[in-house]
Symmetry: C2
Subunit: 548 residues, 2 copies
């Protein structure tokens, strides 16, 4: 045998910080302030991260302790992204859009001892603070009123100010040398199928994800880029951009709480963002705003969209109106999140119908990630033919293998993560998610895709929204129930809509159960909340029309 002679160098968040602040010390984090922006160089960010780490150490935060952040995207949030993992503690990003009970559960389950909170979000956090007995210190970012938190936090909990804490620090902080498998940060899943589950990223996974996302085949940011992360930093590390940009030298644009299309487009036009990352809802909002207002997106070389599928209409509209190619990315909390991006094959000319068609894929498997598709019934690997659908499974150095305080064996299969997504993979590694496993309806032993039905119903001129869920059936086990929201002033009967579908689906796949509702309930991240619809049906709250 023979041993490698390579150095035993640890891939850590502090190594990312060192690189960005020394090689690209002049690159900036620009935080939008409504009118104009606040700026800090990467060298300043690094200095502030040191101060924050020193301050947290003084507050008793030690190795492995969890520090929560309840914040918008901002310079201070970026400082926390480096300070907390860098000192050996664990950054726990908290979703500001969660219902109070879930938020309280997650802070408690994560074991947060300190929580950083934006002043504008103090009222929201104050609602759950009374029940948070383990949180010893709140650190308020910004000069806004913190009275609500002071009033609601249990006795003994301190409420301090971020700026004052940092200003009190005068000496350099020496980042500890950490093993790369040390926990760096954590994020809970949104929990549409049960309790939220905690995913704990390591320094290694964070570093590798950042390095991989900078590949020219993926996001490919460089020092010439100015990356606008509209995707929140409380949502899977803002898709890894905060770290990736420190490796590439790209400047970061942070929208703060200014998430409306008018503010976002003004930010882009003023600061000349070159790359923007957002969910389809945001992109659609920008499109709609652009129909009524003059907007300038000419600085953008690429947009990325993830979180849910972008529509063909969205991709085409940005191509045509703004000469802006939106490339989809696929991932989930469990995958750090980058699993793939839908850059078309090299030979496809830009802004053609073919180009759009390729970009309607969920992604092409990213270097560093392995993916397969397996049979729903037998778990056996299926062919990569772009047709055969099954559950998508992934593995790799930034994919989770368990959950915090919950091994959840049902989520794994021979070392692969079961994504819960149904889809296909083609011969070149392009994959397309068509469904969630939980959104499939098993009728008489055959699978019916609720998402396919919804997509077709969305094409009917009278339909504004349509959600299809499975309901129990004595003969077929499960049958689809179509829940339809009609456009204002439009009219369509269940029989008409069933007839509309009948040419497009096999007879047994067309729903015979229909209900017309005022709005489809949505989750905090804007997805159809089918749990709620099923519960309403179970509780007899829906008026169901049954066709013969």
């Amino acid at each position: 045998m023979i041993a490698s002679t390579m150095q035993d160098y640890q891939l850590t968040v502090s190594a990312i910080l060192r690189h960005g602040s020394r090689i690209y010390g002049g690159s900036e984090c620009v935080t939008w302030a409504g009118a104009g922006a606040r700026r800090a160089t990467y060298a300043e960010i690094a200095r502030n991260a040191e101060r924050l780490a020193a301050a947290l150490t003084e507050l008793g935060v030690g190795a492995g302790d969890r520090v929560g952040t309840f914040c918008w995207n901002s310079q201070e949030h970026l400082e926390a992204y480096f300070a907390i993992p860098g000192m050996g503690a664990v950054l726990h990003t908290l979703n500001i859009r969660l219902p109070a009970d879930q938020l309280a559960h997650i802070i408690d389950h994560g074991g947060d001892r300190v929580v950083l909170v934006d002043d504008t979000l103090v009222p929201l956090l104050a609602q759950v603070a009374p029940g948070l007995s383990a949180v010893e210190t709140y650190i308020v970012i910004g000069a806004g009123d913190a009275g609500a938190l002071e009033a609601s936090a249990p006795a003994g909990a301190k409420v301090l100010r971020y700026r004052e804490l940092l200003e009190a620090q005068r000496t350099r902080f020496a980042w500890p040398e950490l093993d790369e498998r040390t926990a760096a940060s954590m994020c809970y899943t949104s929990g549409t199928t049960g309790d939220p589950k905690g995913v704990v990223y390591s320094h290694r996974s964070t570093y590798l994800h950042a390095l991989a996302s900078n590949a020219a085949s993926l996001c490919g940011s460089t020092e010439a880029d100015r990356v606008l992360t509209i995707v929140p930093m409380f949502h899977v590390n803002a898709w890894g951009f905060p770290y990736g940009c420190f490796l590439s030298g790209a400047t970061q644009h942070m929208p703060g709480p200014f998430m409306t299309p008018d503010m976002l487009t003004r930010f882009i036009a003023t600061e000349r963002s070159t790359l923007a990352a957002a969910v389809p809802t945001i992109w659609n909002g920008i499109l709609a705003y652009g129909e009524q207002h003059k907007i300038d997106l000419s600085s953008l070389r690429m947009g990325t969209s993830g979180g849910s599928a972008a529509s063909r209409a969205l991709l085409e509209a940005f191509d045509k109106r703004y000469n802006l190619r939106i490339v989809q990315g696929w991932g989930m909390t469990e995958t750090s999140p980058l699993g793939g991006m839908s850059h078309p094959p090299a030979e496809v000319p830009h802004a053609t119908p073919e180009d759009v068609e390729w970009r309607l894929n969920s992604g092409r498997i990213a270097a560093g990630v392995e993916m397969r598709v397996v049979g729903l019934d037998d778990g056996k690997p299926l062919p990569w033919d772009g047709i055969t659908a099954g559950e998508i499974e992934v593995r790799g150095p930034w994919i989770t293998g368990s959950y915090h305080r919950d091994r959840a064996p049902e989520k794994f299969h021979d070392g692969w993560l079961r994504t819960g997504d149904i889809g296909t993979i083609d011969g070149r590694g392009f994959f397309k998610v068509t469904d969630r496993v939980k959104d499939l309806i098993k009728s008489g032993g055959e699978w019916i895709s609720s998402v396919d039905l919804e997509n077709q119903l969305h094409g009917h001129p009278a339909v504004l929204e349509a959600a299809v869920v499975g309901i129990p059936d004595p003969r077929w086990e499960e049958r689809p129930l179509a829940c339809v929201v009609l456009r204002p002033g439009e009219n369509a009967t269940a029989a008409e809509l069933a007839g509309y579908l009948s040419g497009k689906f096999a007879r047994w796949q067309v729903p015979e159960n229909w209900t017309f509702i005022a709005e489809v309930p949505k989750t905090t991240v804007g997805k159809y909340d089918k749990k709620v619809l099923r519960a309403r049906y179970r509780d007899g709250e829906l008026t169901v029309e049954r066709l013969n």
Copy 2:
């Protein structure tokens, strides 16, 4: 404490192979054949790598065993790059330009049990084969005569044919699951300062180097690229391109033995290479050839140059004549090799004098590599001001921490590799190598740069070549001796040349010892071989003129 939930995924060469062959199965390895080319897809390469691994297993090659390659850049060499590490053995690339004694030493010291050899290189290898008692099997690539090897190899050693071995393999080979710290490949330093030393790369270091080199800030290859590796695959893994391209999907162009400018430019024009990697000697050869012939480099989006410093004239000529930007890269066998590339800062316009100036840097520190410059006398870190020179030290996940069967503590300093290069780093991580430590002359306690003297002498119209070495001096310890080759038909005296230098250097830095020689001796990689010059001086073979 809290544990990361990430999967324990190993970064291995077989994972690179899986990615390239499945996601980019249609990308190609194109081997130049003098007129036209041989082609193989990445899917075929993967299949052949399996066959080779199976054949080597049958020949008794096991985990950790060394398999040498004595080959040009070709499809088969690429197959060996994946097969040998993938099966858990160690790929040992042998420099075909080494003197026989060094080659024999390296094969023996490396412990190679099998050697793959191109048929065209059989005569060269046959010269040393009689002394290679540990090599059990030679595998000849190509159908050319192997008689010389059969005649010279010790009794018992087999001489087999690559193509026949692969064709005999019918079943799939299951790549073993390896720990990422397993040895993957090895390469010996060229040994200009003593015995060659073996560097052993791990699977992890190979994977990380490939991933990092695909960053848009570095080589940034994608599926749209066709990468011509003129730099030999026996030279630090051809700068990592064979692996990087399998992660990015870039097609690979392999020149085989056709390394002359006419063949290289014909290859580029025919196959439309988009990126080419070569040492300055090759680039200069292409420039000179292009002065006499019509060549088409229009497909190249970038050239990279490494191994030694490219001149301003070289960069300018490619800019002006071919609109081709040559970007320098810096590295060494010990650094896998990528340490940095000289892409100018984002704000510098292309093809301007400023752009050239930035590209005259050796590089900008690559993400994944840490670099510092330390005092020659005290080893203390020096400022990054672009002025203060010292020895460059590096560390990182693809930097060596020792040598094969030789820990060589004198080569390391607090966990950093001492590169032996003298240079500066500026405030943005641009570094410039100005000297080798061994090329500095210490005179009366002060350092004199032989390279600076040589650069100035090269500017004198009568001088073709000039090498400056240190010779012992009773009063100053060491003094410079200038060894000059005059241009044919030109004339210049020692006094004239000393006078030429005297305005450019301090008085005590100007050599008083001069010798005129017919040619500067060179190493196998074309560098001035100062060891030989010093020996000739010591042996009294040089006629030295001493000025007052």
